[in-house]
Structures are given as structure tokens and as C-alpha cells.
Symmetry: C2
Subunit: 120 residues, 2 copies
């Protein structure tokens, strides 16, 4: 078992949640050692809530649990990536969308800059 | 322009880097307001290094820059997702792999548990 470096964030590490099938990034949560152990032991994503300061298993009330298909960490062993299958209605975000990442940041600006900076 | 909530992490927010073409998650870095502004202004991902305590533009020495194709944030506006095209040799990780997420966490355990927990 690889030991995740939780020290950089005072006991926490970011955990990226990605759909195992279509690879959409669905959400990001934080885990402490206990949340990671529970996730790996149960096969369902459990996070540590920074605002509520306790563990929460995603979907425990909504039914939209995140079944972990694969789990990995990065070169610095300070970030977790979980590939999941979403159970229940398949909705991850509390705003009713599949992914939490629905708010565009200046997409038009980037497209303009991107095309302007394409190498000749 | 959406204002990212940098307060939860003392001025930082995690930024997930995803390949715009095949949707592979390549790395996670952290941004402060200045790094995000530079990223959106230049179209190339710039992060804040927690260990070196300064901005760094990914690929500025290796040439493997991350050209931002789309940028979004989540429901809590405290996490950034960038879809990028990797320039140069296409390698993102300093260990020589395309993605930084190469270390498996108990994949076999999860597979066993996953199949045991499949609903009948």
C-alpha cells in the first residue's frame, strides 16, 4: 500500500473523481487517511468535509454513490484519482447536473487567445 | 468573470489538468489568483508552487506547455478544471510519463470488492 502524503494540506489530500466510462471529471473532494481507508475498504468514495469537519460518503442520502473502479496517486503521492461508476440517478452535483464542473471561465477569451497563439 | 473562492485554502485552489482530446487526467496543481489570471491571460497553465512559494508556468523549461482549451469551475467555485493540449513531447510528468497518475492504489482489492458488491 502506497502511503499518501497528507502533510502538505494538514492531513488532507485532494481526490479527483472521474467517470470510469466516459472519463468526464465529475467532482473534487478531500480525503484524510480515514476517508481513504474507508473508500478502499468499502469500494465507495468517502470524503472529509472541510466545512462540516467529518467524513461523508457521497450519495449516502441521494443514492448516487460513487463505486470505485480504480484508484491511483501521482508522482508526488499527494493527490488521489478515483475512477468511478455513479450509482442511482447518475447525478453527482447537488445542483442536479452530472458533473460539478458546469461554470465556464472565460471560454471565449481562451479560444481567441488559443487561435492567436497557434504556431505558424 | 466568476470569482474563484480561494479562501478555503489560504489563497489557493486546486486545478485539475485534463487532456482535451482523450480526457485523461494528467496532473493536479494549485493556483492562486495571480496564477489563474496569468493562465487565462496567456492561455497557458501557470501554477503556484507550494514548496517553492512562487508561480511556475508548466513546461517553461521542458517545452511541454499546457495550452488551455477550456476552463471551468465547480458548484462551490473552489476548484478549477482546465482542458489542455500538451505541447512539446506531450509528456506532463517529470518522471517521464504522460500523466502523473501512474501509481495504483490497491486496484486488486477494489476489483474483488467491486464484484462482490455488484447488486444481483
Amino acid at each position: 500500500m502506497i502511503n499518501i502524503d497528507f502533510d502538505k494540506m494538514q492531513g488532507l489530500a485532494p481526490a479527483i473523481i472521474q467517470d470510469a466510462d466516459d472519463r468526464e471529471v465529475l467532482m473534487l473532494g478531500f480525503m484524510n487517511q480515514e476517508a481513504l481507508e474507508k473508500t478502499l475498504a468499502t469500494g465507495y468514495a468517502t470524503f472529509y468535509s472541510r466545512t462540516r469537519q467529518k467524513l461523508w460518503t457521497k450519495g449516502e442520502t441521494s443514492g448516487n454513490r460513487l463505486r470505485v473502479v480504480a484508484a491511483s496517486t501521482d508522482c508526488d503521492v499527494d493527490t488521489i484519482l478515483l475512477r468511478v461508476q455513479v450509482e442511482g440517478g447518475g447525478v453527482v452535483c447537488h445542483e442536479g447536473t452530472r458533473s460539478c464542473f458546469t461554470k465556464d471561465l472565460l471560454a471565449e477569451d481562451l479560444l481567441t487567445k488559443g487561435s492567436a497563439e497557434v504556431a505558424p
